[in-house]
Subunit: 385 residues, 2 copies
């Protein structure tokens, strides 16, 4: 039997940067997924094989060797999400080093540490074949690492004793609330290995899907009742999130009054976002009025992000291009490059989208459409193998 | 003797649109001038000749004809600034129509009405040769009509009994406070003929120069102690100021909380502007720190204007271009086209400015540098003719 879990990426709809200063932000799942498949091998087949499809990397450990390094920890303990100690990370690094990790992809090594930690903690020392592939670009602020950790945790837990799923069910199924919470907690432990101090927002959105409002560390789930599509444009310009966050803080201390009002404006925009997407559209007219409002909120939010100094020439380029098509856009995430959202109203023609995507492509940007606020992590079982 | 008056144009440094909602804006003079020259002719030479150099128009009225139409008003009354009644405007239109005004330039006819009103009200019915030329583009939000009215009023008053100037002085001289106030009041009467309901800010800046803070109809003069230069880029995109103002109000009623914070942020920026430009630079380091702050304030203000919805693709184009040179820009005036300011730090090389101007020119924009916060209206006498 093969178990497959898919977990969505996320975008920040409103409030990035403001959230660092204690103001509200709103994040949402997007229907682009990272997919983990796990097939257990027979006990006498002593191998754990991991294939990272998108980056073309393969790993193969003997279960005996993994045991040597980690069995003193007493794995598995699937019902008790546990942090990986610094000392254990060193042991994991040894296991990865033995597989001669290519120098040029060394930034991705922490993802493999997270794999080994979650795998052994949840499943113990079982031989298996594991593959992962993703529709999410890495390092673009779309929560690819969270989707990686969530889908991995979900697939592992589905094979553990901590979760009871109906394995005979066909197609994608979801976890109940308690199980999803467990998936989320394990994913968060994985995120800590990859990111050091993650906020927990990305893995929560990836686990529970839909829309989440967060402020001062408190997350509130928001039920979106509005069908929404965005064009996500990856400028492919890398950015230094820490430096961007520090610059905003410096600007805030130089211009405290103005920046405080800017942050208040963003808070109001986040609040309005969550109110609007919770409303049920009574008719088409109501829907397009709300779409127009959301477009305005995006334009306003982008202006405020510009005034915080986190825009970038590449982002302005996307804005200007989408403006020609009378479409509202805003950066999403840290800014300084990264991704830009463009609201696609329901009445927009595919032709217009194609033209826009083509024009954006001529600058070297990559654009893809995504549905907003869909389901979180899902699981399916394949008995054919 | 020929008397020549020159009056500067203006820019809005911060707070455009916000000022409509009762928040502070800051305006400044720029060292681009409109120049009126008046030479009285002998009493038996029955002609008033007006040459508008920049638009290539000439008018020539007989004093007898002007008297026929206007003498019942009891002109001149140079010390009593008086509004032109609607009935009198109709009479002025008759005088202009008799000169066969070209259809294509009919929008400029009100400037000729203002000329006739100010001329006869201040000087009465004297024959003269009058020429005007300007460095200010018309209808670009740089206060060209105010500079026209101020320089005209100043030249006329210099020839009247209401103002006592030392006509033997060489070069440019200024009016004393009371005289300047009289110039300003007459100029405002001219502005009313051209604009209907002017705010009075443009003519005040043109008359008194320097920097003026204004809020809810109250103007406060600010002493700028900082040398400042801007690149002013005319996008040449015409805009509908009334529609832009109405759109901001509509957005404010749709998103009251967010927009209120946006306006508060702009208020803080206007206040910071006037504080910074009043400070005396103790050394170069202090000066460039302040320049950097002003650049940030411009970037912030532009972001806030974007969030009010008054930017335009052409403006974004200028922003993006100047961003490449790491220079801060903001729209000035109504937005939706019009002019964009780019702060030129003191240390910037002429080469960089040339390159930027050339690049902006390739989009069809016209850029020129201007000193900020210089003197208001000035007068000079030429005895050679």
């Amino acid at each position: 039997m093969e178990v497959t879990a898919r977990a969505p990426g996320k975008i920040i709809l409103a409030g990035e940067h403001a959230v660092v200063h204690g103001y509200t932000a709103v994040a949402s799942s997007i229907d682009l997924y990272t997919v983990f498949s796990i097939r257990l091998r027979s006990e006498d087949d002593d191998t754990v094989k991991l294939t990272l499809n998108d980056i073309g990397l393969d790993f193969s450990w003997s279960v005996r060797r993994i045991k040597e390094v980690l069995s003193h920890l007493g794995s598995p303990f699937s019902s008790t999400p546990t942090s990986c100690s610094l000392e254990t990370i060193k042991s994991l690094a040894t296991l990865v080093d033995e597989q001669s990790f290519p120098e040029t992809k060394i930034g991705l090594a922490s993802g493999v540490y997270a794999f080994l930690w979650l795998y052994t903690s949840i499943l113990g020392f079982k031989p298996a074949t594991v593959t992962v592939s993703s529709e999410l670009p890495v390092g673009a602020g779309l929560g690819s690492s969270a989707a990686y950790c969530v889908s991995l945790s979900a697939a592992l837990l589905a094979l553990s004793d901590s979760v009871k799923l109906d394995v005979s069910q066909k197609g994608w199924s979801t976890f109940n609330e308690t199980e999803a919470e467990l998936v989320n907690k394990w994913a968060f432990e994985g995120e800590k290995i990859i990111h050091g101090r993650p906020s927990g927002v990305d893995n929560s959105v990836s686990t529970f899907g839909n829309v989440i409002k967060f402020k001062s560390g408190v997350m509130t789930r928001v039920n979106s009742n509005m069908p929404l599509r965005m064009l996500i444009t990856n400028t492919k310009v890398g950015r230094d999130t820490k430096a961007l966050v520090a610059n905003v803080s410096a600007r805030k201390s130089r211009h405290p009054d103005a920046m405080c009002s800017v942050l208040n404006a963003i808070e109001a925009i986040s609040d309005e976002w969550s109110t609007i997407i919770q409303s049920h559209a009574v008719d088409d007219l109501y829907l397009s009025a709300n779409e127009e409002k959301l477009g305005e909120l995006m334009e306003m939010n982008q202006g405020l992000l510009l005034s915080m100094g986190v825009s970038h020439a590449s982002i302005e380029n996307v804005l200007q291009t989408s403006m020609k098509y009378k479409l509202a856009s805003k950066l999403t995430g840290a800014g300084g490059g990264g991704c830009v959202l463009t609201l696609l109203p329901t009445h927009i023609s595919g032709e217009v989208i194609d033209k826009l995507v083509e024009e954006l492509g001529s600058f070297g940007f990559q654009s893809f459409t995504a549905g907003i606020g869909g389901k979180g992590v899902q699981i399916s079982f394949d008995h054919s193998s």
